[in-house]
Amino acid sequence: MSDQPLLEVKDLKVSFHTYAGQVQAVRGLSFSLSAGETLAVVGESGCGKSVSAKALMGLLSCPPCEIKPASQILYQGKNVLQFQEAEWSAFRGKECSMIFQDALAALNPTLAVGRQIEENLIVHHLASRSAARKKAVEMLALVGIPQPERRARQYPHQFSGGMRQRVMIAIALACDPKILIADEPTTALDVTIQAQIIDLIKALQGKLNTAVLLITHDLGVVADIAHRILVVYAGRIVEQGSRDEIFYSHRHPYTWSLLRSVPRLDLTQKEELVSIEGTPPDLIDPPAGCPFAGRCRWCMEICREEEPPEVQFSPGHSCRCWLHHPDAPDWQTPFQRGDGVLC
């Protein structure tokens, strides 16, 4: 891992203009990603995780979407948000590529899968047509598709769900991108197939030193593959840290409830699941204070009025919650509290 991060996102804000008003989907996201690292973005649907990924790839159509002018996405020092169309084309697929959740919708049904892999190589002038064809077959073999020569001539509908997802990975990795964005890559798949895909992403990452931005809501997958984790709620990062920090010494009530809302397969006693009552806030008119205040068991008066500051616990581990403020009442909570440095 080099010191200079490959990708740096600074204060990303994305809104959508709708008839009902402006939906503030992403409200100030900042993070960085280094080569060879897996960063997991965890959150519920509607928290803005997919929108941020699409913003990184320049896939949001503006309007109705608006990326606020102060937002910066720096890839090797260049702000991608100021890219012209030609620069985007050179960036997408070659430097940074994406695996989508629904492979059937993302693949072109009228082209053989081999052609779809070749397309990427040819567009980026990385190979001649015949070399691209060879490479496409190699890629299919790399992602574990049996009989790759024959399969390359088949169409997406002739593949099963897991196989289609492998094809998508093959397309995404054909040009050796430096960043791979995986937007819920296994959500639609069965667990046995999910295990295959996760192992594949891990193995390929080791081989190609790709930085992976994994977007998911499945904490089990995250425990297996992530190095660092961002917990996102209502368009904001509520907690971030290394995998072990998030799993074993989390500081935010939302992270705590999220981890306890899923039953553990390896535990025998049946304890009641922690359910987070209510629903996430409406982002057309986001609450003034902490976005989680309405669903939080330890909500205080200040939580509804003022946004909590970021509190740092170790380099890389920080959280936004008023409970860590020195003046907060001395309540017993099931997660660790206090002793952080206010930023």
Binding site: S45, I198, D218, A223, D224, F247, R264
Partner: protein, 320 residues
């Protein structure tokens, strides 16, 4: 279970075939199990293994091809007239997709009260409305929601309306067909806790179909594992997770990631190769034979029968 309990649902050698272009799709091919009153039986398996078809055939939504389903002694597929109507009151379903299974042109009151009206459970319109309000409160919604339409609700709220609709006729048995898989993690816990609470309060019997094994383990007393139309293992949920017998169950369990990095690092995983084969003309012998690491010649020839390997633990494999 120490005392013999009254049986609610009894399924013997149930088969359900569909005629498709390429031949016969054997979605359910000889499945037998029973559910005692007040019990939750979890039915798990990968997509396409026939678990939804099995559930739907059990509650009479599909005609059967062969075999028998008895609900409290009566053959579900032979019920006619008033007996059939009584059955539809006792047995209800919660569907996977609350977006597709609730009528968008009806208000919440109409949706929930439909069953009450059909079964004439509440003669007066005013009492009926009170009952709807009561049901909404039981599932954690409130009376202001009663006059709204389905599109005005979030996924979790819609699933709650689906549950209220099922509860409206005071059923004894509910077939839950993947009630939580379309929902967010934090909402899943809400719905599962609600289902567990309702079962305790009303002595309900559940057939709980899902592919999420950790959730199924949490809610079920016993679990049946299906693979390609047949049942490969059936036992109590503790036993299944502590001593899985069938190689498929073992692989399925090891594929589930555990949200704990330290546990996850120590685990040894058996990753299954390939996909589930097509249920059109499935393998002759053991259905799992093509993906099983330990398969022998016998597995390819002869179909293993479900047999008791220890008290209350059934498995279908030649190697046990």
């Amino acid at each position: 279970m120490l005392e013999p309990k009254e049986l609610s649902l009894e399924v013997t050698e149930l088969k359900k075939y569909f005629r498709v272009g390429g031949g016969t799709l054997k979605a359910v091919d000889g499945v037998s199990f029973s559910i005692a009153r007040g019990e939750t039986l979890g039915l798990v398996g990968e997509s396409g293994c026939g678990k939804t078809t099995c559930g739907r055939t059990c509650v009479g939504l599909y005609p059967k091809t062969a075999g028998q389903v008895r609900y409290r002694g009566q053959d579900v597929h032979r019920l006619r007239g008033s007996a059939r109507k009584a059955f539809t009151k006792q047995v209800q379903t919660i569907f996977q997709d609350p977006y597709a299974s609730l009528d968008p042109r009806l208000t919440v009151t109409d949706i929930i009260a439909e069953g009450i009206k059909n079964h004439n459970l509440c003669p007066g319109a005013k009492e009926r409305r009170e009952r709807v309000f009561d049901l909404l409160e039981q599932v954690g919604l409130n009376r202001e929601h009663a006059s709204r339409y389905i599109h005005e609700f979030s996924g979790g709220q819609r699933q709650r309306i689906g549950i209220a609709r099922a509860l409206a006729v005071d059923p004894e048995f509910i077939m839950c067909d993947e009630p939580i898989s379309a929902l967010d993690v934090s909402i899943q816990a809400q719905i599962v806790n609600l289902l567990i609470r309702l079962q305790r309060e009303r002595d309900l019997t559940y057939l709980f179909i899902a592919h999420d094994l950790s959730m199924v383990k949490h809610i079920s007393d016993r679990i049946a594992v299906m693979y390609l139309g047949v049942m490969v293992e059936l036992t109590s949920s503790e036993e299944l997770y502590t001593h899985p017998a069938h190689p498929y169950t073992k692989a399925l369990l090891s594929a589930i990631p555990i949200p704990d990095p330290k546990v996850e690092e120590r685990r040894v995983r058996t990753v299954l190769e390939g996909d589930v084969p097509s249920p059109i003309n499935p393998p002759q012998g053991c259905r799992f034979c093509g993906r099983c690491a330990m398969a022998t010649d016998r597995c390819a020839q002869e179909r293993p029968q479900l047999r008791e390997i220890s008290p209350g633990h059934l498995a279908a494999c030649h190697l046990i």
